[in-house]
């Protein structure tokens, strides 16, 4: 039920030779340092923008650190991502005003339309879905931000149309 897809995306750093070499360099430079796990994860996040499950598996093997620990660290700090960032960033406001005026329904709809969960990126790399704090447009709640555009009074049924202009 919980299974995270073990499928490896074609552009995952573990299968792209140059990226893999880069990863290895980071691992080698840091494996004997105290706190190596945190250090390596931070550097890989900076380098690639995310730490995928195949990467986590590889790091676990290399550093001999249990996968469950790596996953724990990645989910504890909000600066980490497990999927690459898409070309467009969809952020649903979950500030108080938006929350009470339908934010959660907007998220449900977005998850359904995009076929991903919050925090994930669509397979075609087009959108990354996330939530954010109050963006200061409470009067127009519920608010969704797509890249730098602030879109207010979002109705779930308009969402599919809204997304169309972001290629």
């Amino acid at each position: 039920m919980n299974v995270v897809s073990t499928e490896i995306m074609p552009d995952d750093p573990v299968v792209v030779p140059e990226k893999k070499a880069h990863m290895d360099a980071i691992l080698d430079a840091n494996r004997d340092r105290p706190g190596a796990t945190m250090l390596v994860l931070t550097l890989l996040q900076e380098e690639f923008g995310y730490v995928s499950l195949p990467m986590q598996n590889y790091i676990s093997e290399q550093l001999k650190v249990p996968l469950s620990h790596i996953y724990g660290v990645l989910t504890f700090y909000s600066s980490f991502r497990m999927t690459p960032i898409g070309r467009h960033q969809v952020n649903v406001c979950m500030g108080t005003a938006c929350y009470v005026r339908g934010g959660p329904t907007v998220i449900d709809k977005l998850e359904q339309v995009l076929g991903v969960k919050v925090g994930e990126t669509t397979e075609d790399n087009r959108f990354t879905l996330d939530i954010c704090r109050c963006v200061g447009a409470c009067s127009q709640a519920p608010v969704v931000m797509i890249d730098d555009d602030v879109i207010g009074r979002v109705k779930p049924q308009d969402i599919a149309k809204l997304l169309r202009k972001y290629e």
Binding site: M1, N2, V3, V4, L53, Q56, N57, P66, L67, S68, H69, I70, Y71, G72, T75, F76
Partner: protein, 909 residues
């Protein structure tokens, strides 16, 4: 260690420095409530239940993490801390389902108990609550409901610190913090070994045994302390029996278990459900070929009287007409000590033959023979606790410890991970322990002697041997040395294919890390050179001075739950109970007097494989087999089948219609370990009680009662009121058990033999100061090639063994729904290179054939085996590797060479 004094709630208590306030309070008799704390686990201070006030400290603090200091004044029951605890509990309840009414953990939940004790009201807030899936993991044995999780983190620590699997961890943070397996995977995908130890430590109903769901809660259960029926580690646990249904509901562990504490493996905790299997035999059966229908075609149901009379009459007939040695008796390493004693008494006193043996012949006969020669006693020399806890190095060879003796395996893993114990694995397969090994010597199967000799030569060449020890405690060193010196690095590498630098490294590690403990199992014993393999390991430990010391020793890990006891009690063709020789006239006289008979046989009887050969040739006409299954466990099964078919009379006493029972003339239904009283002796020579938890099904009876009936009907009245009476007779005739009595065991005395008298405490370590035989004997052992080498027709070498989830012939484990859900069918390990070359993919059906027979199993493509090697098991009848193994025997111990057979492998399309 310096002592400190502190005051807790007015009580003064003295404790060693380094003790926590919580531990000190316990010593002072003051109870501080806890949730995240457990004495077996590293304290984390996560739950804040154990808050106390310390005079002079600002604000309350957690007792479980605070070291006690001299002069400290602790208050555990101030209004302030009580309020705090109530607040903690109230916070936990605010995100906990109000489900005690139907929760499995009701009556057995630490949260429930504390909420009751502190009288915390159900919070009425309307804020956020999590609503997580109630059965969130598909594990067939564990039920996870994270709504009931209080984030104590015990499961995380158990799985890491005790089990060494690191399955669980915290993920997310703040209000959303949740326990997940691996990277939010299924538990099994995250490396779970299904030991259920996390369930055992979980304080609430968040983790529970899936099997026990709906079977009844604490209020209707009684607990019965007993000993596991699977392996020789000898774990103890409590059967929980529902007093309304009379059925076992689950196994719970107890910190009082001497060998294992709270830890169990998957078989012990979840493999017991065969007990209530509807395949259990419930009534005696007699062969009747006119019966073609029904549950057991070829058999009809019979009364006990009819079946027992027939058995007695047939055994007497063959004894009197074809001679006592025309009858054979196979005893059982699954049965109790008392039953093994009675079986050999029946064979010897009533049957007048020493043709009594059991499957130890197939697993550790060479250990017993080899160690008896070298040291004078054939058992594990040290205790599990000291050889895993105090050794600086483990030398593990021919033992896949984490799968075969799992609880010893986890103790090793813990010591390696936490104390930096060095590990050398010498094994042709890359077993799981290799992940933690300092060094893995992957030698060619059947080259153990050459490998050990090569290592010992390196030790000698460098002068690393313990010269003083050798001079004082051993003999025959020079002759040994002469042989060893032939095994140069070059020669050893050539024979074993282990690179020379690894051999050197092994010698150095052994010399630098003392004491070191040697462990082995069937990978050493099941060879035509088995006895010499064992003697070589004794040589190694004498050379290093590692015998008779804590943390050292030669430690053969015995397979079955009671294989040690079955040997101890004389279910062997050459010895009476206590290894007293049948050829010794004084012993004959002693047992004639004890048993009130004349003319006990004084010639050594036939062993397991010899009995089958004699049945095949017609010399043996009748066999009485007690709870053994040669049709799965013996080598060369086609030969065994012919032998059984050739018998005039076969009686099988067992709990299931086993493969062997299918050939029987009479089948007597026995009781399993949960249905009778008795004792088992574990691998560390520990004698432990087995207790009756439930009634045997139908009219089946405890085996000791059946044996008494048969003896009586054969004209030798045999009667005991209880197994305790049998043990008293054992104590009177068997010096190493002479102080063993049920009343001592029931009082909780931990007895490891030799127990020399009623006031003798037992012997945790053998050979301290002196060997049983006086001086330790160095022996010179030369490498001999295994009997079968791969050739053009049979190009693969096959080796055999077991897996974590099954047991031997699988008669029990295949009837456990839990174990079958985890491991449903036989697999054969094959190397990826071989598989690629032959176009074999994971899961393909393979036919494995030797000169003797063939079997079918699915491929597991893995580098656990080297190229040219395959690995098969004996757990499933059709996929049993023993159709292909050969009955080549070690000339001394008569153990067959299961570990090396030449086979060919074919993909079936």
């Amino acid at each position: 260690m310096t002592q400190i004094r502190l005051t807790i709630d007015g009580e003064t208590v003295e404790v060693p420095a380094g003790t926590t306030v919580l531990e000190a309070a316990e010593k002072a008799g003051v109870r501080i409530p806890t949730l995240c704390h457990h004495p077996d686990l590293t304290p984390t201070g996560a739950c804040r239940m154990c808050m106390v006030e310390i005079e002079g400290m600002r604000g309350p603090t957690t007792a479980c993490t605070l070291p006690a200091t001299d002069g400290m004044v602790v208050k555990t029951k101030t209004e302030k801390v009580i309020d705090l605890r109530r607040f903690v509990l109230s916070m936990l309840l605010s995100d906990h389902p109000n489900d005690c009414m139907r929760c499995e953990a009701d009556g057995n939940c630490e949260l429930q108990d504390l909420v009751y004790e502190y009288d915390v009201e159900w919070p009425t807030h309307t804020g956020l609550r999590h609503n997580r899936p109630v059965d969130s993991d598909p594990s067939p044995v564990i039920l996870a409901d994270m709504n009931k999780c209080i984030l104590c983190g015990r499961c995380v620590r158990v799985c890491s610190e005790i089990q060494g699997c690191d399955v669980w961890n915290f993920s997310e943070r703040g209000f959303d913090t949740v326990i997940v397996a691996g990277a939010k995977q299924d538990m099994l995908a995250a490396g779970c070994e299904s030991c259920g130890n996390c369930v055992a430590y979980c304080p609430t109903g968040a983790l529970f045994d899936r099997v026990a769901k709906g079977w009844g809660r604490a209020a209707h259960q009684k607990k019965v302390r007993t000993t596991c029926t699977y392996c020789g580690v000898g774990c103890q646990f409590d059967f929980n029996v529902n007093t309304q249904t009379g059925k076992i509901t689950r196994v719970t562990s107890t910190p009082e278990a001497p060998a294992n504490g709270m830890a169990l493996c998957v078989k012990g905790r979840y493999g017991w459900d065969f007990i209530h299997s509807d395949e259990r035999l419930t009534t005696p059966l007699i062969r009747d070929d006119s019966m073609t229908e029904g549950q057991y075609p070829g058999f009809r149901e019979a009364t006990w009287d009819e079946a027992l009379d027939l058995v007695a009459q047939k055994l007497v007939y063959h004894r009197d007409n074809n001679g006592p040695d025309s009858v054979g008796y196979l005893s059982s390493a699954k049965c109790t000590n008392e039953e093994n004693y009675l079986m050999q008494k029946l064979a010897r006193a009533v049957g007048k033959t020493n043709n009594v043996d059991h499957c130890a012949r197939l697993c550790h006969a060479s250990t017993v023979a080899g160690l008896a020669t070298a040291l004078g006693s054939g058992a594990m020399t040290n205790s599990i606790a000291d050889c895993t806890g105090e050794a600086k190095l483990y030398f593990v060879t021919g033992s896949n410890t984490t799968e075969q003796h799992p609880v010893i395996g986890i103790k090793m893993r813990k010591a390696i991970r936490e104390q930096g114990v060095k590990l050398i694995v010498a094994d042709p397969r890359k077993i799981d322990l290799c992940n933690l090994a300092t060094l893995h010597l992957q030698h060619r199967p059947g080259t153990d002697i050459a490998l050990f000799n090569g290592i010992m030569r390196e030790i000698l060449v460098n002068g690393w041997e313990d010269k003083e020890y050798i001079a004082a405690r051993t003999e025959n060193f020079e002759a040994f040395k002469e042989t060893i010196m032939k095994y140069t690095l070059e020669l050893t590498e050539e024979i074993t294919r282990v690179p020379a630098d690894k051999i050197k490294e092994a010698a150095r590690l052994l010399a630098e890390n003392k004491p070191g403990a040697v462990f082995w199992a069937m990978g050493i014993t099941q060879h035509t050179t088995g006895t010499m393999n064992v003697m070589s390991l004794a040589n190694l430990q004498m050379l290093l001075g590692n015998l008779g010391v804590r943390g050292g020793g030669v430690n053969p890990l015995r397979g079955q739950n009671n294989v040690q006891g079955a040997c101890d009690l004389g279910a062997l063709s050459n010895v009476y109970p206590g290894y007293q020789k049948v050829v010794d006239p004084a012993m004959k006289e002693k047992f004639e007097a004890a048993w009130g008979v004349k003319g006990l046989p004084d010639k050594i009887g036939l062993t397991v494989v010899e009995l089958m050969n004699a049945a095949h040739s017609g010399e043996v006409k009748a066999l009485y087999i007690l709870a053994e299954d040669p049709m799965t466990s013996d080598p060369d099964l086609n030969h065994v089948r012919e032998a059984l078919q050739n018998l005039d009379f076969l009686v099988v006493q067992d709990i299931f219609m086993t493969e062997t029972a299918k050939y029987a003339d009479v089948i007597l239904p026995g009781a399993c370990f949960a249905e009778k009283e008795g004792t088992f002796t574990s691998t560390e020579r520990r004698i432990q009680r087995v207790r009756k938890a439930v009634d045997a099904p139908g009219i089946s009876r405890p085996d000791w009662q059946v044996l008494c009936e048969v003896a009586t009907r054969m004209g030798y009245p045999m009667h005991y009121n209880t197994p305790s009476d049998i043990m008293d007779e054992i104590a009177a005739t068997t010096p190493i058990y002479s102080g063993v009595h049920f009343w001592r065991l029931d009082a909780g005395e931990p007895l490891q033999w030799p127990v020399r008298g009623d006031d003798h405490p037992g012997t945790p370590i053998l050979h301290v100061g002196q060997f049983a035989r006086g001086k330790g004997l160095f022996t010179a052992n030369e490498h001999i090639e295994p009997r079968e080498a791969p050739d053009d027709d049979y190009p693969f070498t096959m080796t055999t063994g077991r897996v974590l989830y099954h047991w031997h012939g699988g008669e029990q484990s295949r009837r456990s729904k839990n174990l079958m859900a985890l491991y449903p069918e036989p697999l054969v390990e094959i190397n990826p290179d071989d598989a690629a070359r032959m176009g074999i993919a994971e899961g393909d059906k393979l036919q494995i054939a030797s000169r003797r027979g063939e079997f079918v199993a699915r491929a597991w493509v893995t580098d656990r085996v080297a190229s040219g090697l395959i690995f098969g098991t004996m757990h499933f009848p059709a996929g049993n590797a023993n159709w292909a193994t050969g009955a080549f025997l070690d000339p001394i111990a008569k153990i067959p060479e299961y570990k090396v057979s030449a086979v060919r492998v074919q993909k079936i399309v």
